[in-house]
């Protein structure tokens, strides 16, 4: 079974009396364990597609199956429940909560999953260990470098053991060296069995993936790498 199946996805916004299409008839299958890169010029609909995959936005039309479940027919609550269990987000601008420490930022998704306190502690400690940021756990985001912040962002995305990581230009704000490290982490994760979908501008980063999807004006031009 495919992890993700999109059938005839259309997405548009209404500006005035005109309907502007952002995505046009997207059909997409992503198997469990893939590492997919979505590429395309600005305004081609990459981010919107990622948001739809992450259920942060609803497609205007079309079907979305996640592990065979019809997301497009779910209610808001079910969708949110599914999302917080299965999907982790990594953002270009990291999007850490400024008022929380590194530790608390990583812990937050577990709070929303009602994980008991002792288990939370263990899992956050594991994650800090894994990314070698134990020493930084009591710092606030503003006290970290960009690369470190993105590490925290990835740790936070992974803490709930999601099936799928969605990354929106994860290296966009980083130096090339830091970017490379982050990409290595993604490919390691993928080897461990996590499905990764990233949006990127960089050909080099796209190479890490097993497949590249090119978007142009909201339409796909599938290409195996």
């Amino acid at each position: 079974m495919n992890l993700i199946q999109l059938n005839n996805i259309f997405h548009w916004v209404n500006t005035g009396s005109k309907r502007v299409f952002i995505l046009k008839d997207i059909n997409l299958e992503i198997k469990d364990g893939e590492f997919v890169s979505i590429m395309g010029p600005s305004g081609s609909g990459k981010s919107t597609l990622l948001h739809i995959l992450g259920t942060l936005e609803q497609a205007s039309e079309g079907e979305y199956f996640f592990e065979g479940e019809a997301i497009h027919q779910m209610k808001e609550k079910q969708r949110a429940a599914l999302m917080k269990k299965n999907i982790g987000f990594v953002f270009q601008a990291y999007h850490l909560i400024d008022d929380l420490t590194v530790y608390e930022n990583i812990e937050t998704p577990l709070l929303y999953l009602d994980v008991p306190s002792s288990e939370r502690k263990a899992r956050v400690a594991d994650m800090l260990d894994r990314f070698q940021i134990v020493g930084k756990k009591d710092l606030f985001p503003a006290q970290l470098s960009g690369g470190q912040q993105q590490l925290v962002g990835i740790a936070r995305a992974l803490i709930a053991n999601p099936r799928l990581i969605l990354a929106d230009e994860p290296t966009g704000n980083l130096s090339s060296k830091q970017g490379e490290e982050i990409m290595k982490i993604f490919s390691e994760l993928n080897k461990e069995g996590v499905t990764v979908i990233q949006v990127t501008h960089s050909e080099k980063n796209a190479e890490y993936g097993s497949r590249i999807i090119n978007l142009l004006d909201g339409q796909t031009n599938l290409q195996e790498s």
Binding site: H51, L56, A80, K84, H95, L96, D99, E104, Y112, L113
Partner: protein
């Protein structure tokens, strides 16, 4: 989870100290006002709660028919209690209470005191706590129980027990009493307040106690064995009405009513439903005194909540990102709402703590200005409930809207930077408008009353109100003794006697001239000497001739108002009819303000008094010496009339109440104005900050395009100034209506014109406060480097 919320809330709040301080101080102040209003309410509501096991105690009230309707009076005929108790087995115990003012002497001091006379059973019924001695000897003749306060007044720190004091009895004879008990201070909110209490037998003889012709009315309390006998008891009491009515020509009763003791405090003021007339007990004033502060503090709390709401919303703009991320991480709306409400709850709890500190600090001065004795009652569980409920309620009211509003944003649009706060959030604008309108209203009222206060200082009363000292006397001999003794006082310019004194009231009579008929006040005065002493001006004609003359029966003087009301053109020699007798007008005096400032000058007829009837001795003293000479007149009185308690006043006391009331209204208005302005200012500060954050980019672009600082400042302020002007128009119109239609029409008939000054001042004050509060913020935004605002990363 909850613990996590608390931890994070505390951290967030400690990072934003200005915001927290603004909210907490504002709310704390408002909650302090509410707490005071509650204590004030509690004082009334727990009236008489110091007496226990009173559920079977009733007061015998009389039912009188007055003007066709039945009124309950809180007293009953002297003979009723004893007679009823003798013939009815349902009465377990009964006690009567009567009071009379009497002179009390101890060593060389004498005091005029209210002395209470009660049956010993009163102590069994109500168990008044004694600090010293006991109540078992109360029944003994010539034993007396006094209050702790009175004991201190009499003996300072000496032991009061077993001391002797002298009371003048009804006939004026001295009687020596022994103090057998000292009462603990009774709470101020108690129906009973005694300084000195002795046995009933010491006032009424046994024969009088069963004499239905005796016209004394007493408070009668009965304790019944069980409540089922009440009806029977009332019916039996009613059988005595015939006896009473036949022995008293002047007073007719319809029956009697047993009123539960626990009810008495809640029927003791005209504001209460089921008001019981003529109760001699300490009354529990309610109505305005409770409702006024309650409404005021509720308004202040409301404004503080408005503010809280506005500031919370503006503060949340800093946290949009956090909200977006939390939603992406799986936080559902309910959890976010909970998080924000918990933050509000923490703020409100801190504010409540602050409120308690405020109240604890302010209570002594509040008590001394309000002449109440409010205090925290730590045994009162309902106060804890109030303290607990208040922050919960406030947090909910003020935090719900921001929580709902903020948590409703779509995470993606926040993270894309597309979410901004609604450009013109009608709700926050309305709140601000309401705040400013209220501030303007309070300011208009306050300033107008200040103007009124200075008017009251300078107004011409038409007589020398500030130069008169008045002694109240009972007979011509007292007048002669006092005037002879005071004659030698060089500071007294002149003296005169009179029957009716200005402002002390005089009867109204029908006055007729030709076909016109009016009601006029008829004052009997002490002739030329009196008018010259008081400073009333003779306009035309002559004064009354001094001494006994025909003038007393045939001549009158009138004031200008009477002439114009009766339409008399040439008054001298004109005959007018007062009731059924005819008099000739011999003189006209200029109008003087008989009613002070709260009533128009009435038409007045002045008649010449027979010196035998004098009730007042009036002395004219230079203004600067009135109060010191008045003191020395008291000394003279005690010297020449040692057996008679002093009774007198200075004439300016007549308008003291008006001045005092004006001060009261004024301080309420300014208090309200000050608090609402402070709160509104912090509200506008928050909104302007929000506005600046929201329009940061726009301001940046405009500056890059060449906008001047001035134009940026006006860009930010335009909306607020318009809002303020609208609030000013509405608020000050309401203020004007309040003053003009209520205070100045009914309370202060003589008052200054409101004029434009209050309006100009009000506008200036709100504009200036706002300018000061937001000026720095706006200026900083206007001069900021636009590059910073436009940088995207």
């Amino acid at each position: 989870m909850i613990r996590n919320y608390f931890k994070i809330a505390l951290r967030v709040l400690s990072r934003h100290k200005t915001y927290v301080a603004l909210n907490i101080i504002g709310l704390g102040f408002a909650l302090a006002c509410c707490l005071l209003a509650y204590l004030n309410y509690d004082y009334r509501a727990s009236f008489d709660s110091n007496y226990h096991n009173t559920e079977n105690i009733y007061r015998l009230n009389s039912k009188k028919i007055t003007d066709g309707s039945v009124q309950q009076w809180g007293v009953s005929p002297l003979a009723l209690g004893g007679t009823l108790a003798k013939s009815n087995s349902g009465i377990k115990r009964f006690a009567r209470l009567y009071s009379s003012s009497a002179v009390v002497k101890s060593k060389e001091n004498s005091f005029s005191e209210r002395v209470y006379f009660a049956d010993p059973a009163l102590f069994d019924l109500f168990k008044f706590p004694l600090a010293d001695g006991n109540s078992s000897q109360f029944a003994d003749k010539n034993s007396v129980v006094i209050s702790k306060a009175f004991a201190e007044k009499l003996f300072n720190n000496e032991q009061a027990l077993n001391q002797k004091i002298t009371l003048l009895n009804r006939e004026g004879n001295e009687q020596v009493y022994t103090i057998t008990g000292v009462l603990e201070k009774l709470p101020d909110n108690s129906s009973f307040q005694f300084d000195i209490i002795t046995s009933f037998e010491n006032y009424f003889t046994e024969a009088e106690q069963i004499d239905w012709r005796n016209n004394n009315q007493v408070s009668t309390f009965v304790e019944v064995t069980d409540k089922s006998s009440l009806e029977n008891l009332e019916r039996q009491a009613k059988t005595f009405t015939a006896v009473y009515n036949s022995s008293r020509a002047d007073d007719k009763l319809e029956g009697f009513k047993l009123q539960p003791f626990q009810n008495i405090a809640f029927s003791s003021d005209r504001d209460f439903e089921g008001y019981v007339y003529g109760s001699p007990l300490n009354s529990n004033p309610r109505g305005v005194i409770v409702i006024g502060p309650a409404i005021m503090s509720f308004l202040i709390l409301l404004i503080a909540c408005f503010n809280f709401t506005n500031i919370s919303i503006s503060f949340a703009s800093n946290r949009l990102k956090e909200i977006g991320i939390r939603k992406v991480l799986g936080g559902v709306r309910k959890q976010l709402i909970k998080q924000f409400l918990i933050e509000n709850l923490i703020l409100c709890t801190i504010a409540s703590g602050l409120a308690i500190l405020f109240v604890a600090a302010l209570l002594p001065s509040f008590n001394s200005t309000s002449s109440l004795n409010l205090r925290f009652n730590l045994q009162d569980s309902s106060m804890y409930l109030f303290l607990l409920a208040l922050p919960l309620f406030t947090a909910f009211i003020s935090g719900l809207y921001p929580a709902l509003y903020i948590s409703s944003f779509k995470p993606i649009s926040i993270l894309k930077g597309q979410t901004t706060f609604g450009n013109s959030n009608g709700f926050t604008r309305f709140l601000l408008f309401a705040q400013f309108s209220l501030s303007c209203l309070a300011l208009i009222v306050g300033i107008s009353l200040t103007k009124n206060a200075s008017y009251q200082q300078t107004v011409d009363y038409g007589y020398a109100i500030k130069e008169l000292a008045v002694l109240q006397i009972d007979s011509a001999s007292e007048y002669n003794i006092l005037s002879n003794a005071l004659k030698n006082n060089p500071r007294i310019l002149s003296m005169a006697g009179t029957v009716h004194q200005i402002g002390e009231g005089s009867p109204t009579r029908k006055v007729q001239a030709e076909s016109n008929e009016i009601k006029a006040n008829v004052a009997v005065i002490g002739g030329e000497e009196y008018l010259k002493t008081t400073g009333v001006t003779l306009k035309e004609g002559r004064h009354f001739y001094t001494g006994k003359s025909l003038d007393q029966d045939a001549s009158v003087m009138v004031n200008e108002t009477l002439l114009s009301s009766l339409n008399i053109k040439s008054p001298l020699g004109q005959k007018i009819k007062v009731d059924s007798a005819y008099y000739t007008i011999v003189g006209v005096v200029k109008d003087y303000k008989e009613m002070g400032l709260h009533g128009k000058v009435p038409p007045m007829v002045l008649k010449s008094a027979n010196p035998e009837d004098y009730k007042y001795l009036v002395a004219r003293i230079p203004e600067d010496g009135v109060h010191s000479v008045f003191k020395s007149m008291q000394d003279t009185w005690h010297r020449v009339l040692p057996a008679k308690p002093f009774s007198g006043f200075t004439q300016d006391e007549l308008v003291e109440k008006e001045v005092y009331m004006n001060e009261g209204f004024k301080s309420v208005a300014f208090f309200l104005a000050l608090s609402t302005i402070a709160l509104s200012a912090s509200g506008i500060f928050a909104l302007v900050s929000l506005n600046i954050i929201r329009r940061r980019k726009e301001i940046g672009i405009r500056k890059v395009l060449g906008a001047s600082i001035i134009s940026i400042i006006s860009l930010i302020n335009k909306d607020f100034i318009r809002l303020m002007l609208i609030s000013f128009v509405i608020g000050s119109t309401l203020g004007f209506l309040l003053i003009d239609n209520l205070l100045f029409r009914f309370v202060y008939v003589y008052h200054p014109e409101i004029g434009v000054l209050p309006f100009i001042l009000t506008l200036l004050i709100i504009l200036l406060t706002s300018a000061i509060t937001i000026g720095a913020k706006v200026y900083k935004a206007a001069v900021a480097n636009p590059v910073k605002a436009l940088r995207t990363e």
